[in-house]
């Protein structure tokens, strides 16, 4: 008989086990997450003979419970008795690999892949490989899709006869009836190719690749594009032309825009995989076509890749290719009908200037930048402005400033507050690149105008913008340009503007330093403690708390403390509260 001590230690485990079948999902989930504790208490023997059979049949549960279970089982090797018994984990994971929920299945496959490494080569052939075969020839496509992810982990570690079987199974799945399975096979094709011997890549994988790339369903074909990248890296250069390129060319001109989109999206990877020679002969024209595609989604994806593509061109004739082939297409895209295409281009086009050098940038790219700065779509303008640093390095920003200013002003006054917010965020960057003089001359008024914007988020962003500017230009600059204006707002008839003064002071005090804070800001704050609006008064209390650390102790004692004490006896409850907070 176990004594009282034994019961005590048993109790929490007993609760956990009982909660495995509690009606509350949350409790079940908790219990599953502590499965290792349960297994530890049961010992390896009972875990294998009792717990695992029970878990194998719990696939009726909620997805989140199953997901947690699938994850747990991946780390269970030691709890069932080490690598020797790791195969006991296969049945529950097998049943999880057939559920309909994709995330659960994927997690089960992930765990299976993990524990496959812990199988000895013999166990792998005796236990793991039959499981893969069972899944691959299952009745329902859920199990067959799961099988696709398991071939590559067991292939390298089995005997050559089993290898041949695995290849055969993979072939069968690639021509499965259901598009789901073909998609799963197509997405694992590259991975599988990597573990195969080169001769089999040529004899097995290439025909499969070609077949999948000309599948009747475009959702399958587009996955073959991804596989193309990994297959191309595996093959020696001389085979690429005959084995991969026909399929790739076909994909770039596919009837379905989704496949072409995929090619555009993977273009940089493809470019790296096939090497400079093929890039020059094949990919350049293909890329030109994608940039001129009739579907806007494809053009946008290709436009996104313009910079990367140009960067990766072979250096010897990079400039010539860009100037004669790519740039004409880019010029057209600048005036595209679709704003997504234009904004995709605007986010990368500035990067071309570093590749092309100063003269070309001034002659060819600058007009494009200027056009985009005047674009009707604010996103395009924003993307240009946010990447100004690239141009700044090459030609200096002065070339642009004439056009830049109207663009910034227009964005600053855009009717949409999110656009205004975006441009505020670029202000410190712009200020840094344009220099103090230009900023004082042109942009300072804008920054001050935002302080009295009717949207709080803008006022807030304007405040933190000021802080960043002061950090950049220094306290002296702040004292001359910003501080007087900010403090002037303390007398504004609108209490919201008066409060903005306080917020600015909160933000600026640290950057401005003790002297400015004590001499200029503090008197204003203290004066505002007599404001008739309670919101302003309690913000005074908050401000005083905030700027306290910056002030010297003398000012704190003689000036701040009396004011706070006065506020602490205010008639308004909130003012009292915040004043007391500040005093303590």
């Amino acid at each position: 008989m176990a004594g009282a001590d034994g019961d005590d230690s048993l109790y929490p485990i007993a609760v956990l086990i009982d909660e495995l079948r509690n009606e509350d999902v949350q409790l079940r989930l908790n219990s599953i997450k502590k499965l290792s504790t349960i297994a530890l208490a049961l010992g390896v023997e009972r875990t294998r003979t009792e717990l695992l059979p029970f878990l194998t049949d719990t696939i009726y549960d909620e997805d989140e419970v199953l997901l947690a279970l699938a994850e747990q089982l991946g780390n269970f090797t030691m709890l069932v008795g080490g690598p020797e018994y790791v195969h006991c984990l296969l049945p529950p994971l097998e049943s999880l690999a057939t559920v309909e929920e994709t995330v659960v299945r994927d997690k089960a496959v992930e765990s299976l892949r993990k524990i496959s490494q812990e199988h000895s080569p013999v166990d792998l052939e005796v236990h793991f490989e039959p499981l893969v075969k069972r899944l691959a020839s299952g009745d329902w496509f859920t199990s067959r899709t799961s099988a696709c992810g398991l071939f590559s982990v067991c292939y390298p570690r089995v005997s050559s006869t089993v290898k041949a079987e695995i290849r055969q199974h993979f072939r069968t799945l690639c021509s499965d009836d259901t598009p789901m399975v073909r998609r799963a096979a197509a997405s694992k094709l590259g991975e599988f190719a990597k573990v195969l011997e080169l001769e089999y890549v040529k004899t097995d994988i290439i025909p499969l690749f070609t077949a999948l790339a000309s599948d009747e369903q475009d959702s399958v074909r587009l996955l073959a594009v991804e596989a193309c990248v990994s297959i191309a890296t595996l093959l020696p250069q001389e085979d690429l032309e005959t084995l991969v390129m026909p399929t790739l060319r076909q994909a770039a001109e596919d009837k379905s825009w989704r496949v072409r989109y995929m090619v555009a999206d993977k273009f940089s990877e493809l470019q790296k995989a096939v090497g400079p020679e093929i890039t020059k002969n094949d990919l350049v024209p293909a890329f030109q076509n994608l940039l001129k595609d009739c579907e806007a989604e494809v053009r946008a994806a290709a436009a996104n890749k313009v910079k990367e593509f140009c960067e990766n061109l072979p250096e010897d004739n990079r400039e010539q290719i860009i100037m004669s082939h790519i740039l004409p297409c880019v010029k057209e895209l600048v005036s595209d009908t679709n704003q997504h295409v234009k904004s995709a281009l605007a986010s990368v086009i500035m990067g071309l200037s570093t590749i092309l050098g100063k003269d070309n940038t001034i002659e060819h790219l600058l007009p494009l930048f200027l056009t985009q700065l005047k674009d009707e779509c604010p996103e395009v303008r924003l993307n240009i402005i946010s990447n100004l640093d690239c141009v700044n390095e090459v030609i200096g920003i002065r070339q642009l400033s004439q056009s830049l200013l109207p663009a910034i002003v227009e964005l600053a006054e855009d009717a949409k507050w999110r656009v205004r917010l975006a441009i505020i965020e670029y202000m410190p960057l712009l200020a840094g690149q344009l220099g103090v003089e230009f900023f004082d001359e042109k942009l300072n008024t804008l920054c001050m105008a935002w302080l009295i914007d009717h949207v709080y988020a803008i006022r807030e962003a304007a405040t933190s913008n000021l802080t960043k500017l002061v950090e950049k230009f220094g306290a002296e600059w702040a004292q001359n340009t910003i501080v007087p204006k900010v403090l002037g707002m303390a007398n504004d008839p609108n209490y919201l503007h008066r409060m903005t003064t306080l917020f600015c002071i909160n933000a600026l005090s640290e950057a401005c330093g003790q002297e400015i804070t004590t001499k200029q800001m503090l008197p204003v704050v203290l004066k505002m403690s007599n404001d008739q609006v309670a919101n302003v008064r309690f913000n005074v209390a908050k401000s005083l708390q905030k700027i306290g650390p910056v002030l010297d102790s003398n000012a704190l004692q003689t000036e701040v403390k009396p004011v706070l004490e006065k506020l602490a006896s205010d008639s308004d409850m909130d003012v009292k509260y915040f004043a007391q907070e500040a005093i303590s």
Partner: protein
């Protein structure tokens, strides 16, 4: 995955642009709108004892969303009724005297609301979803297994083809009819059955969609009360040849609840507009069901094991004494009676401003589309917070302010059964458009337009209404399209856009008007008749317009080999056309004429004054309230399911051979 087009960020509601336009049958909609289908918690005391073994208790674990629905129901009782109170008054006054006997009056409530609340309380007492199929209580659904051999109806005579070209016999009539109910918990028991049936009929039991799954083993129906009932075909057994293929209730669940859209002050009724089965992916079955706004994905699965053994309590839930717990026990799974579980898997909401009229699952197994009056959305089955508009009628973006200028709405849409990139949608102007998703992300340019040139001489006020396509179906081969408009069913060849391949007259209501079918011969001499015909047609259409029948949306169906088409009509008649022999037949689905296992007799409708054969029905005696709008054909066999208001009829080909 790559999709393009217009991205809808879903939680953002579309601006409340317009009232529930585009639904001309507003009155009729208001009628059903008002009835909460199932009571808010707590569930009503069961008055119906017909609980089928396979029917799960109504205590399905409700999704969080369904919980919200329940709240909406409660609100609906107070807000929901008000906008259309004139009409409701009409209803309520009709029954109010009855109700007043049973319920205490509260003087503070305004009379109308009071009636309504009483009305609701009556509804609370109505039985939960019922297709009560318990054999003994349902004579029509008599299970042969319980009948001694000699009492069983003998095999119907193998009548000759002449007398019965379509030998269909009902194998079952499944229904939820008031007359078979006993009303046991008593509050209103003093009323006669007849009076109750007035109350009962317009309610939630009217079947609004019927759909076989891909193997035909399961049949799902949806009704106006937001319920889905799934029937399963019993396996054939050699010992009882007659019971083969009987469909019995497999599971019943509440799919949608009435809701109230506060932004637009719109009631969203719970009526199931469409059900579509997903291709089977594992042992469980999945189906999509939709009401006007929200599409839900359901999982229907079986469970035959349950865990047993607790550490700290026994199976009845009594807590064990801790001192007796000396070792840990892991639960063990024991076999149990088969239980069918239905659980909500996904809810696809907030993507439709107008009423969803169709959903269709793509052959790529991962996407489906939903169409409303002006928009077609593409969804990924795993993703509920994003959808992609494949098609947007111009008007949605260009002239939202002026809905009067709307000339055309989408009436139905379907994916090609084999090619994942093709879909077709039909319009209220009678046209069909075929779109190829490969060409562009937004399919606002069609690849093919199927349209029949209008005959200018036949033009009338009604021509646009009657040419509106109410349903479109791809044939199983994917080669043909079947469409239904008010007076005809048409078969189109995908390769011929100029005119339909075949046109079949439905003769919905008048035999005579369609009699001179070959209009071309001796046109002059027929001129007078023709004039007559059109005249008669026009007057008939006038009355159908007035009683809103002209807006009825009849569905149509192909048989498994695409050789026969079927569609519904009035007076519980449905029509079948053989495409090869060009023969057609009218059959009736009624409880009187279709006894189980009897062979259906063809029916004829004759003109008012014309010669009548025995059994012919005069055109004037047709009942326009009995309409068969929803029909479905088993994917491989000659089994059809016909929804006639609140009854579901399942007929089977007696000869077990092809229909022709």
């Amino acid at each position: 995955m790559v999709y393009g087009g217009v991205h809808l960020i879903l939680p953002a509601q579309d601006a409340p642009r317009c009232a529930p336009v585009l639904r001309r049958r507003r009155r009729a909609a208001a009628w059903t709108l008002c009835w909460p289908a199932s009571p808010p918690s707590p569930p009503p005391p069961p008055i119906c004892h017909h609980h089928h073994a396979a029917q799960p208790s109504r205590g399905l674990p409700p999704s969080p969303l369904m919980g919200e629905d329940t709240d909406a129901t409660l609100t609906l009782n107070h807000h929901g009724f008000l906008p259309d109170h004139n009409y409701v008054t009409e209803v309520v006054l009709g029954v109010a005297p009855l109700l007043l006997k049973g319920v205490q009056t509260d003087s503070r409530t305004p009379p109308l609301l009071h009636h309504l609340s009483m009305f609701t309380s009556v509804l609370l007492l109505t039985p939960p979803p019922l297709y009560p199929i318990d054999p003994p209580s349902q004579p029509e659904a008599l299970s042969d297994s319980k009948v001694p051999e000699e009492l069983r109806p003998s095999c119907p005579p193998l009548s000759t083809l002449e007398s019965s070209p379509r030998m269909l016999s009902p194998i079952q009539v499944l229904c939820s009819d008031i007359t078979t109910l006993s009303l046991e918990p008593e509050p209103f028991a003093s009323y006669t059955e007849g009076l109750f049936s007035i109350l009962f009929f317009p309610k939630a039991d009217i079947i609004s969609t019927v759909e076989f799954n891909h193997t035909g083993e399961l049949l799902a129906t949806g009704d106006k009360g937001g319920r889905v009932v799934i029937f399963q075909r019993e396996p054939e057994s050699k010992s009882e040849p007659f019971s083969q293929g009987e469909y019995n209730v497999y599971s019943t669940f509440q799919s949608h609840e009435p809701e109230f859209d506060y932004l637009k002050s719109l009631e969203i009724e719970e009526k199931i507009n469409k059900i579509r089965w997903l291709p089977q992916q594992n042992a469980a079955h999945f189906l999509l069901s939709t009401n006007d706004k929200t599409i839900k994905l359901w999982k229907v699965s079986e469970r035959d094991k349950r865990p047993e053994g607790y550490n700290l309590k026994d199976e009845e839930g009594r807590i064990k004494d801790i001192a007796t717990v000396t070792s840990l026990q892991v639960p063990v799974l024991k076999p149990m009676d088969l239980m069918v579980e239905v659980s909500p898997r996904r809810v696809f909401a907030n993507a439709h401003t107008y009423h969803v009229n169709s959903i269709s699952v793509n052959s790529d197994y991962e996407t489906y589309m939903s169409a409303d009056d002006l928009r077609i959305n593409l969804w990924h089955l795993d993703i509920t917070d994003r959808s992609f508009s494949l098609f947007l009628s111009d008007i949605v973006d260009i002239k939202p302010a002026n809905m009067e200028d709307l000339t055309e709405v989408i009436t139905a849409a379907e994916f090609h059964p084999l090619h994942c990139n093709l879909f077709v949608y039909s319009s209220s102007k009678g046209t069909l458009r075929l779109c190829d998703m490969r060409e562009a992300a937004l399919c606002d340019k069609h690849s093919k337009l199927f349209e029949e040139p209008e005959d200018p001489s036949a033009r009338s006020f009604f021509s646009e209404i009657i040419s509106s396509v109410s349903d479109v179906k791809f044939s199983h081969s994917g080669r043909y399209l079947l469409t239904r408009d008010y007076l005809t069913a048409k078969v189109w060849d995908l390769n011929m856009e100029s005119k339909p391949l075949e046109t079949y007259q439905i003769r919905v209501f008048v035999h005579v008007c369609c009699e001179p079918e070959p209009l071309s011969d001796a046109a002059v001499s027929h001129c007078k008749t023709l004039f007559h015909v059109h005249d008669y047609l026009r007057s008939k259409l006038c009355s159908l317009y007035e009683n809103d029948c002209i807006f009825d949306k009849f569905e149509c169906a192909w048989n498994g080999s695409d050789s026969v088409i079927m569609t519904g009509a009035y007076n519980n008649f449905f029509r079948m056309f053989d495409r090869h022999t060009k023969r057609d037949v009218t059959l009736e689905a009624s409880r009187e004429s279709s006894k189980p296992r009897a062979v259906l007799k063809p029916r004829r409708v004759c003109a008012a004054g014309g010669k009548r054969r025995k059994d012919d029905i005069s055109v004037d005696s047709l009942d326009f309230t009995k309409k068969i709008l929803h029909t479905a054909w088993h994917p491989n066999e000659n089994i059809i399911a016909i929804a006639a208001t609140n009854n579901l009829y399942i007929f089977q080909d007696k000869l077990n051979s092809e229909m022709h």
